[in-house]
Symmetry: D2
Subunit: 350 residues, 4 copies
Amino acid sequence: MAKIKTKRERVKFASDNVTGACPEVLDAILQANDGDRTPYGNDQISTDLQNKFSEIFEKDVIVFPTASGTAANALALSTMTPSFGNIYCHKLSHINTDECGAPEFYTGGGKLVTLNGINGKITAEELDQTIMGKGIVHHTQPSSVSITQVCETGEVYQLDEIKKIADVSHKHNLNIHMDGARFANALVSLNVTPAEMTWKSGIDVLSFGATKNGCLAAEAIIFFNKDLVGNIAFLMKRAGHLLSKMSFVSAQLNAYISNDVWLKNAKHANEMGKKISEGLKQHSEINLTYPTEANEVFAKFPKQVIEYLNSKGYQMNEEELNGKSVRLVAAWNTSQSDVDELLETIKKSN
Amino acid sequence: MAKIKTKRERVKFASDNVTGACPEVLDAILQANDGDRTPYGNDQISTDLQNKFSEIFEKDVIVFPTASGTAANALALSTMTPSFGNIYCHKLSHINTDECGAPEFYTGGGKLVTLNGINGKITAEELDQTIMGKGIVHHTQPSSVSITQVCETGEVYQLDEIKKIADVSHKHNLNIHMDGARFANALVSLNVTPAEMTWKSGIDVLSFGATKNGCLAAEAIIFFNKDLVGNIAFLMKRAGHLLSKMSFVSAQLNAYISNDVWLKNAKHANEMGKKISEGLKQHSEINLTYPTEANEVFAKFPKQVIEYLNSKGYQMNEEELNGKSVRLVAAWNTSQSDVDELLETIKKSN
Amino acid sequence: MAKIKTKRERVKFASDNVTGACPEVLDAILQANDGDRTPYGNDQISTDLQNKFSEIFEKDVIVFPTASGTAANALALSTMTPSFGNIYCHKLSHINTDECGAPEFYTGGGKLVTLNGINGKITAEELDQTIMGKGIVHHTQPSSVSITQVCETGEVYQLDEIKKIADVSHKHNLNIHMDGARFANALVSLNVTPAEMTWKSGIDVLSFGATKNGCLAAEAIIFFNKDLVGNIAFLMKRAGHLLSKMSFVSAQLNAYISNDVWLKNAKHANEMGKKISEGLKQHSEINLTYPTEANEVFAKFPKQVIEYLNSKGYQMNEEELNGKSVRLVAAWNTSQSDVDELLETIKKSN
Amino acid sequence: MAKIKTKRERVKFASDNVTGACPEVLDAILQANDGDRTPYGNDQISTDLQNKFSEIFEKDVIVFPTASGTAANALALSTMTPSFGNIYCHKLSHINTDECGAPEFYTGGGKLVTLNGINGKITAEELDQTIMGKGIVHHTQPSSVSITQVCETGEVYQLDEIKKIADVSHKHNLNIHMDGARFANALVSLNVTPAEMTWKSGIDVLSFGATKNGCLAAEAIIFFNKDLVGNIAFLMKRAGHLLSKMSFVSAQLNAYISNDVWLKNAKHANEMGKKISEGLKQHSEINLTYPTEANEVFAKFPKQVIEYLNSKGYQMNEEELNGKSVRLVAAWNTSQSDVDELLETIKKSN
């Protein structure tokens, strides 16, 4: 058979999406592959998944599995935002800066109204002041709010922050979406339940991320507010996101949320993140840009440190949007020795 | 770990997308999963894939792997069709009847102009007569042509038919796309080379299907005409079809086109299709609707035969669009005994 | 002041949109121009217009004036058709052949499903058979029906024909739109009331045409079913069709529907159409393509007649879509002597 | 005939779009109405207009007349911005705040990236720093820049400011659009030529406004860079902005730019604006928000002054976006006595 070059690529810490699937998820794919299955998500695994998610969220939820996080976000937002609608979000939010206009594409031309926030988090106050123009035909119309949990600076929204933002959203009759690309990392950071971090705090729709934390390509759009489901099935099909062999996406998610796999993975990644953060603090010339609250570490490095790391095979880039910080991300498979090696290399760079 | 119910679903013959991945492809996923990889298709496996496809097509091609066939078609068409453009296609074509308007979505409102064709194939003559209105501001503008190989009635375009249609397309300055969801099945049916069935016959862009014939979720948009590539990378990202862990899609394709896996799978499926077709011919009350040229068989069954089959767990439906024919599809994993069992059951239904 | 070249252009009979405004409408523009007015349709003339239309249609209607018939059609359809929706219409319909894809643009990618009809009119039976796929995620969804009155072959739908088509539409939960670009011409042809030809026969939304029959640029979207109004005000603004000085569009419509101006103009145009039709029948080598039921005449002319007419300054074209017929259109300002001159010239061409 | 209520509406100073057409323009409409004309802008008046605009701009320009300023802006931007493109503009710009998302609609989902600027004008420096991400597939792509002249705070860009902004735009390979809704007012304010204020300063495409300054509904999209024209004719038709009786729009523009009508009107409006501004300065409790450089005056009024004015029939509103300033706009038909009456009323309010 085809011998794939499995040459190791030195991309550790560049992101948590450089990883493969964790063993439990991989095993689920193998199992799902055994035998024929009804296509387009009408299989038994996909049906079971709905129930499992409902258990985990302590509420009957409606779930649409998908292979892509960008699609999950954009599809979710398209159910709550007309073509002439405003989506309020942080200026650094992934939907604004890293999805090449997916929300605009899926909503048919919606407008992302960006907030400055404090570090990576928007505030209820700024949101409240920014929402205006409702009912006036000249203005694009306030429609939805999106927050990212873990947010783009590695910080985690506290429950009361989410509640306040959701309250302002609902006061203005807007729906609120959570981009949970790193949902599990936030969850273990806050040590709360999935229900508490979402619908109990007012979230209407969630993009539940799993790819970064142990799956190959598996996300889920989760509706807590069933009235919002609308025509998403048609929009999803129309966008090419209703995979024929959907059962293998569902199988990944199923394994991921079973037996605390997702929480175990996230807890580990957060711990490794913390170790990196602690390690960097030992270097007076390296400054953490934001507090490390989950598995992402942002810091400003001296130029020669970056160059030295890259000369050793790392891929460190100053990110323009984050004030020239370097982002280091720990993943479910980051080992203590990976972290030690990184910190050791940094030491040598001086 | 999570025990997935692997209860077997009796969907054999309903489609070739009810299958899992073939062993070679599954093994490639396992190999690709070992170690970290650069995301978004910038990994080594994806790079190698470009070369492998270029070898197979005897031409430097530009390849965009994707997890979805609908996305592959719509993205390909969006590179050759402006929002005010016409796409000429068969009235039964998958892009017209089974993608919930994906080409319209991705082109920003393009129009599918449907041809009646002969059975499932369009003809160069009808195409030539239908293209009109170029340059007149009131009319949507002739822009592209799309044919499906194997087409929607299970028939296969002959090389000279493709050439004539491509000639008419190019005479009118239109580009031509091939929806190759069952590309391999057509190829082994015609017993020609990939180059002969595509660019040597005038095809500009191909949706190369692999999911139905042994992959889990792997297709590829292949550009023979590099000028058409345009902004597809941005459109793909924007649609959520640039998966972060793209290497696992590339790995599937890599294994699929290596060591004749794809041809072996397709040859087997076609043979099984032929056996079904031969078997049905033995029944005077069953009439084949179209000639069986690849792995799909279309036939009109007496009502009670359908009911009997379904009572035995099969899932047979009369399809409105095909004049109330039932479609039976053989796949890479259809066994001789599966076919025997089917034919046996039909016999008993009388 | 600027002296505009008022050189007469010999375009009589080419269409009814070659005309200027009738005196009553022009006078209304002059009156509306006197003094300042609240912009964007919030002026008194626009408010009065709502009431006047409600009187004429014997029902409280909601009216959106616009300067463009194409916009009126597309905006109306966008209120009843989602981006993944089907609009059923005649293959010759203006929305399908002469608006460069406006319905697709405004609906965000809707699909026009074309019917063959009998001559220019669709039938309830064909419509009923064509509507399928509701609720199936793979198919674009049946959403709306559009008929043109006077239709594109110059024929007029009878009341019972409209009713049957509307019944089929509503049976399938579709809404029905009437493109009334030549609404007045149909009305006087049938000699019925505006209410009878629309909501009493089941029409939900009407594009009320006035430009061709005596206005400069004035149409109206008229909702009989208020639930359909939805977000049209935002869509209209967003498309640039909420003119700031909307009062001058309303003023045109106001004058047009007052004192039977519209009916008088249409009656005259229809009479002139009939005279052309009668005159052509005298020529054995000229064949009427369709019955003349309003102000449009379609006929097949010998080549040399067309050439002779054009040599005399007329602009006669064989239209591909109408089987190479020539269309002659009488307008509100077509005089008996214009018709005589035309028929005289035809006589001389032999 | 229909007697339209010509009750005067007290909307003076609310905007310059509350006015009717000036006598020269109205006369041109009457003249154009005499006789039949080729539709869709293929008439003689429209042809002449191209030449007249070329003379005025000292360059062969390509002109598309339209009835709507919002459409002019959005169509112009759609020629230079792909669906995944960024349009850089001031946060207060009309395209961002007052067109209900028209640029997003016409571009198919483009993103408006807003700049803070200084007062109402963007700066070359901020623009230069904001443009980033070119070629990176995750980011929407820098595509075009739009400035408004007169800008939304009533200030006028100086020639060197335009040049610097155009230079930065072109340095990044972006095209630059000018929203010239009050083009004439800026022109007489700067006392420069149309060429100097546009292409000689680097502008690629202009929305030439005429409605506010003496027309009924007439704007023009003017291309200095012919390569950008692209498919605008199809996009315009598709949007319903190719009016059949286009000659009456062209006739308005023709009269407007002939015999210095436009300059005369603008000069008068600016003078009246200045008088208002001077008058307000006499009141210590009223503060001008921005310098008065054309025909718009922005000022903060004590609440009771606003209430008193409104009690006298004026329509004064604090605008949220302009820091609760009231906007007063002088028009081509604002008389000295209108201004005196306004200032007198303000005096009495104390």
